[in-house]
Amino acid sequence: MKHSQLKEIIKKKASKIEFAIVTNLKNGLSEIYEPGKSLTKEFEIYKEQIDNFFKLKKNGVIENTEIFIETYIRPIKVIIVGAVHIAQYLVDFAKSLNFEISIIDPRGYFASEQRFPDMKIINKWPDEAFKEIETNENSALIALTHDPKIDDPALQHALNKKFYYVGALGSKKTHENRCQRLKDAGFNNDQINSIHGPIGIKLGGRSAPEIALSIIAQLVSETYKK
């Protein structure tokens, strides 16, 4: 692989573009392919198979050939509501995972760049903030403020957009009250029961990094169930 190609791959990863690296294992030739775009002569006969690998979101060698395909899919959008202590550890743990994190918090002291360097922080109320983020059923929400004013609008947005993962911090009692408010707002039982509350898998720890770890573990587990 040429160094220029490596740099191009890194650039494409950083800009969250979907692409594949196609390599001829016999002669070492490789190129970058973007769905919908054309391939050079070397690889164009494999276009259909490459597109198929994309559909299945997998890597591998095309059967009976020496052509290896590695697909890069867009990272999953994870929206954290509440730029709290736990969120700082979540950001740390998520560094080696394929998640694109945005943090929403209308409270200026929390949503500071000093607390979250190099992160996308939206210092607005959720209703306004979600206008800036395109979300769908491939998105995840982690609500951490346990303040109904901030969490509830975000939870409603996530349920309406059918996020594949919705988790909300708070005790059992806090969660019961939350479920009742959502019921009053017109959400059905299936929707409400899809919320992971209290959030996270049971690890036993109660410190900020331990709660963050339990949330990340649950998020990864749910991601593989998709």
């Binding site: 890194i10 490789s30 979101k57 060698v61 899919i73 990272p75 998640f99």
Partner: protein, 109 residues
């Protein structure tokens, strides 16, 4: 759903090259049986044998490092190697998991 990890090995390879190291990229291209790492898993090796990342659970990395150094010495662009249970070198380095993997090595230049 594809894996949710991003180990940033390619980014690290770029950092190594910037400091004038010769880098070979090793990628798992096929697996059979109970191999620990998925297809697409990567490691990088420089001319001194420093390495980062993984292609197995520590079973075959030493052999991969040797192969990568050889590739740099012989100035070859690429090579495919397979580690099978019946493969002598795999036994030597201990592919304890009982799996089989194919690894593709390529120099970045």
């Amino acid at each position: 759903m594809k894996n949710s990890f991003d180990e940033k090995i390619l980014e690290e390879a770029n950092d190594w090259i910037k400091t004038n190291q010769k880098v070979v990229l090793a990628t798992v291209i096929q697996t059979w049986g109970s191999s620990p790492r998925q297809v697409g898993s990567r490691m990088i090796v420089n001319e001194k044998g420093d390495f980062s990342g993984s292609v197995s659970g520590g079973c075959v990395e030493s052999a991969v490092v040797r192969e990568c150094i050889g590739l740099i010495k012989d100035n070859k662009p690429c090579k495919k190697i397979e580690f099978k249970v019946s493969n002598e070198s795999a036994w030597e380095v201990g592919l304890a998991c009982g799996g089989e993997i194919a690894v593709y090595l390529e120099q970045i230049n």
